[in-house]
């Protein structure tokens, strides 16, 4: 079973709960959840993807995941590109390394519904759950 996500209620903003059997799949599911808050994001397939390497260090795996998601937001906002495939090279409590294929956003086929300002630290969690792992985060709209 691959990772999945759902939204949960927050008065002003949007909460995302992602879960997956493995940590790499959780990273994927959390990214999918973040993109789903923004809207329906369709990558342009005509041009080749560009692989980027992300590395985050710290002492809290939930914060490392948040940092990765913040990077996805920044790329979307400044480069108008989305991550279309990832390979999680390392995910420990102190380091997250992700190789990510990025592609330009196909603006004609995408539907941008919400401007996500940031992935907040409020109620940020990553924990083992039945059958794998679960992460929750709240995004500022």
């Amino acid at each position: 079973m691959a990772g999945r996500y759902e939204f949960f209620d927050h008065t002003a903003d949007v909460g995302v709960r992602a879960w997956a059997p493995t940590l790499p799949e959780l990273v994927q599911a959390a990214g999918d959840g973040l993109y789903a808050v923004v809207g329906r994001l369709v990558a342009a397939r005509e041009t080749p993807g560009r692989w980027l390497n992300f590395e985050f260090v710290g002492d809290d795996d939930a914060v490392l995941l948040r940092d990765y998601l913040a990077e996805l937001l920044r790329l979307l906002a400044t480069k108008r590109c989305v991550v279309t495939a990832i390979a999680v090279e390392e995910f420990s409590p102190t380091r997250l390394r992700v190789d990510a294929e990025t592609r330009a956003l196909d603006l004609d086929r995408s539907s941008l519904e919400r401007e996500v300002k940031a992935v907040t630290y409020h109620q940020l969690e990553l924990r083992p759950a039945a059958g794998g792992y679960e992460a929750t985060f709240i995004v500022d709209i």
Partner: protein, 486 residues
């Protein structure tokens, strides 16, 4: 549903509720929420009172951790929160007490256009605003600035864009702090922030940001309304936006930079989003320098947005903006931190006042109030939802005594975004608004549903509380007739 607050809320009087300092370990002071019994029933339904208690844990906090009646659940601070800290007593600055949208705020433009003249052209007016004002997710502006120009802009504030033709001196005089927070440090702003903000000056954004065409429906204080130039039955325009991606990235960078700082200074925090640094520390000064740059960016953003609105009115009414009487009434920030002097326990102290979803509300006679308004007090602009009403108030002396010169900033959300979408299922919010006499245009499919009137508290109830508490006074009520949203 969000989890309800189950802690103590002691009623002090008809519009004040206390969370005692004894509620949880780490609280250095009481929490104090302004609300009546009706509003308190909804306030208890989420975790916002818990956030008021959390803010009471910040080092150097002076007075109570305050919340205005439009309080709702935020992240770190509640929305509607006010907290003052004393830098000389180890007081901190917390980016979470300002928020990601640094200097999100509101400006109000008055006109000499009778509503009866506007009604026949309303659809054209709203459509032209929608076509002219850049809005929507990641919308880019028609005015571009190089990095060097942006660095000058964020130091100078509103005057920078006025000197380039986007307004007049009077606009600057009628903007909080003359549209400039002194002490901006462009060198403390990351390249990522410049990259995210270089093409967004003069853009509305999305979410709850809007341009609204309104009619002055009721004047409560004729003398003050006359000074502000608000006449019953005439058109006004409200603009709500902030510092766009530039500010979001500055807050993001600050929260990352400050992660280890509480440990360094021995500060215990109940929520990671409350990360902070002593105001006088190098880390605190670094954030303040960048935050002020974002505040100045936001004032330039709203100045250019107003310029575009004036151009649209000139086109639709075929008259110059000054002949249409399109003067800025005032521009207020409602997400900001400022160093302001207050008399506390018989001593004048310069405090760091965080307003997270709260508006400055200085009284008559205060030197920071523009001379033209000094006899009535600073205008406090309180937009409601797009179907009902908005209010113009003026600050009162009591605000200086109780709330560090602060007041509410809006209606406050009642429904989550998901709940609002569920409530809109099978309905057309656009048609419902049209039936109520409001022409609405929005970019996204979900925008109008998420921002529908039922998603918000009744702003008149909120305003009633601040008036009864004596921190602001009603001047005029505005009714929306046209709105554009991102």
């Amino acid at each position: 549903m969000p989890e309800a607050f189950t802690g103590p809320l002691e009623q002090v009087d008809e519009c004040r509720w206390r969370i005692p300092r004894s509620y949880k370990p780490g609280m250095r002071t009481d929490g104090l929420i302004y609300a009546d019994e009706t509003l308190m029933k909804t306030i208890r339904q989420d975790k916002s009172p818990e956030q008021v208690a959390n803010v009471a844990c910040l080092p150097g906090i002076v007075g109570a951790s305050l919340a205005m009646p439009d309080i709702h659940w935020g992240y770190g601070f509640c929305i509607g929160g006010v907290a003052a800290t004393d830098p000389e007593e180890g007081g901190v600055i917390s980016p979470g007490g300002v928020g990601y949208d640094i200097n999100c705020g509101v400006r109000l433009v008055r006109t000499d256009i009778p509503a009866s003249d506007a009604q026949p052209r309303l659809r054209k007016l709203v459509d032209t605003l929608f076509a002219t004002v850049p809005c929507g997710v990641g919308g880019t502006g028609k005015v571009r600035f190089s990095k060097k120009e942006l660095q000058e802009l964020v130091v100078a504030g509103s005057r920078y864009v006025v000197e380039r033709g986007f307004g007049c001196d009077e606009d600057v005089e009628r903007t909080e702090g003359n549209g400039c927070l002194e002490g901006a440090r462009p060198e403390h702003v990351s390249d990522h922030a410049y990259e995210r903000g270089y093409d967004q000056v003069g853009t509305l954004g999305s979410g709850n940001h809007f341009v609204e065409v309104q009619v002055v429906e009721e004047v409560v204080d004729p003398r003050a309304a006359d000074v502000l130039g608000l006449k019953p039955g005439y058109i006004a325009v409200t603009i709500h936006s902030g510092s766009r991606g530039f500010g979001y990235q500055i807050c993001e960078d600050a929260l990352r930079d400050l992660r280890e700082v509480p440990k360094k200074y021995g500060i215990e925090l109940p929520d990671r989003q409350l990360v902070c640094a002593p105001v006088h520390s190098a880390e605190g000064q670094r954030y303040l320098g960048a935050m002020r740059a974002a505040a100045n960016y936001a004032w330039c953003n709203r100045q250019i947005l107003m310029h575009l609105v004036r151009q649209v009115f000139e086109q639709v009414f075929d008259q110059p903006a000054d002949q249409l009487g399109m003067h800025l009434v005032y521009d207020v920030a409602h997400n900001i931190a400022k160093l302001e002097p207050y008399q506390v326990a018989g001593r004048m102290r310069k405090l760091c006042v965080h307003r997270k979803g709260a508006t400055r509300a200085f009284p008559a006679g205060h030197p920071e109030v523009p001379e033209v308004y000094r006899s009535i007090g600073q205008p406090v602009l309180v937009p409601g939802d797009m179907g009902r009403t908005s209010w113009v108030l003026v600050g009162q002396l009591k605000a200086m005594e109780e709330t560090f010169g602060s007041c509410c900033h809006g209606a406050g959300r009642l429904l989550s975004r998901s709940a609002a979408i569920r409530a809109a299922k099978g309905r057309s919010i656009e048609k419902e608004l049209a039936a109520a006499g409001v022409v609405a245009r929005a970019r996204g499919r979900t925008g109008l549903a998420e921002e529908q009137p039922d998603a918000y508290k009744d702003v008149s109830q909120v305003v009633e509380v601040v008036q009864r508490a004596g921190i602001s006074k009603k001047v005029a009520r505005l009714r929306p007739i046209g709105v554009i949203k991102g």
